[in-house]
């Protein structure tokens, strides 16, 4: 039932009359009475919604995957992804430190080699240091194993969560396939592009992107850049 059908037409007419006749107190009281009906109606609807939600959750049962995901898996995901952010950052910094050190050592070696009386004793320690830095760079790559495991775990959780949500949609008698496609309006799309959206990794976001630097060069060549 809609609000409109609940509104007392006589009262509305009385209100209009009171306004026309400048009867302020009478009008105020009628407005109060009219909105009260509406408030009660809203309250009833909210109560009904809450009851439905309770019923749905009760029907699901405590060990339903979606509830377990909500309590146990979702809070972990941000933590797991933060670990990936931190580890990749550390690995990148460690690699850059060692690469910069190695470049410095090579310069040292270059300077040394301009000296004709260069001895094995002078070269050896520098070579050892370069060796050490290269080993460091290699070890820093172990982040790939660790973050790879964490990311695979996150993919598993997200896939399971997606299945549970689909299941919930089915249980609530909604047709998953009939959920409409998201329509991106052109202005939003433009605003997003303007802001920058990072690497285009999904199939959908790859639409209309260049595949290589050569594509970029071709595009700009045509414009004389």
């Amino acid at each position: 039932m809609t609000f409109a059908t609940k509104i007392d037409k006589d009262k509305v007419q009385a209100l209009l009359l009171a306004i026309e006749n400048d009867q302020g107190d009478e009008a105020a009281q009628l407005v109060d009475e009219l909105t009260k009906i509406r408030e009660t109606e809203l309250h009833e609807q909210l109560k009904q919604l809450t009851r439905n939600l309770h019923q749905t959750l009760d029907d699901l049962g405590e060990d339903t995957p979606i509830l377990l995901h909500a309590k146990h898996d979702l809070p972990d995901i941000a933590e797991r992804l933060q670990y990936v952010v931190d580890e990749t950052n550390n690995a990148s910094n460690n690699t850059l430190n060692s690469a910069e050190n190695a470049l410095g050592l090579l310069e040292q070696l270059e300077t040394l080699s301009s000296d004709e009386d260069l001895s094995q004793e002078q070269v050896k320690p520098v070579l050892e240091k370069i060796n050490h830095e290269l080993t460091n760079i290699m070890l820093a790559q172990s982040f790939q194993d660790l973050t790879g495991q964490v990311l695979n775990r996150v993919i598993l959780i997200m896939t399971a969560l997606e299945d549970s949500l689909k299941d919930l949609i089915a249980r609530s008698k909604h047709e998953y396939e009939s959920i409409p496609e998201r329509v991106e309006n052109e202005l939003d799309q433009k605003a997003q592009e303007e802001k920058g959206m990072g690497p285009n990794v999904t199939q959908k976001s790859k639409l209309d992107t260049v595949e290589s630097q050569a594509d970029v060069d071709d595009l700009l060549d045509d414009l004389g850049i």
Binding site: G196, G198, P199, D208, L219, L220, I225
Partner: protein, 132 residues
């Protein structure tokens, strides 16, 4: 063509590792004078000082984007001829055209190679030399 290796370069990127990578590659190419900024918003007052002969910037940054920084540079009478190179993960054709329209001198998509950076710099400064 001889490029002035003593020029002042501003490297703008919100990721410190990417700034380090770009700086190291530029060093390999013989450049030695760099400053860094972690956002377009921090870069802009630095650029306004007029110190820089070359700006290398990311696109996607939290406060002010690289494309906005580029537009500000081009709109400023004293700065508008500063060579500007975008190094970015943004790869939509429409974005590249947008950057061209804003007056970018070079556009490199991440991930990139040292050879690509070298090639773009050569091209940019060959054109600068032609203009003069």
């Amino acid at each position: 063509m001889q490029i002035n290796r003593d020029m002042n370069i501003l490297v703008v990127d919100d990721f410190s590792t990417m700034r380090r990578i770009v700086k190291n590659l530029l060093k390999e190419l013989g450049f030695s004078k760099f400053d860094e900024a972690d956002d377009g918003a921090t870069a802009w007052p630095m650029v306004q000082s007029g110190k820089y002969d070359f700006i290398v910037s990311d696109w996607n940054m939290p406060q002010m984007t690289g494309i906005d920084l580029l537009r500000r540079v081009r709109a400023d009478e004293n700065l508008k001829n500063t060579p500007f190179l975008l190094i970015t993960a943004e790869a939509k054709r429409s974005q590249i055209l947008e950057a061209a329209q804003a007056g970018v001198d070079g556009y490199i998509v991440k991930p990139f190679t040292a050879a690509t950076l070298n090639e773009k710099i050569q091209k940019i400064f060959a054109r600068v030399a032609e203009r003069q």
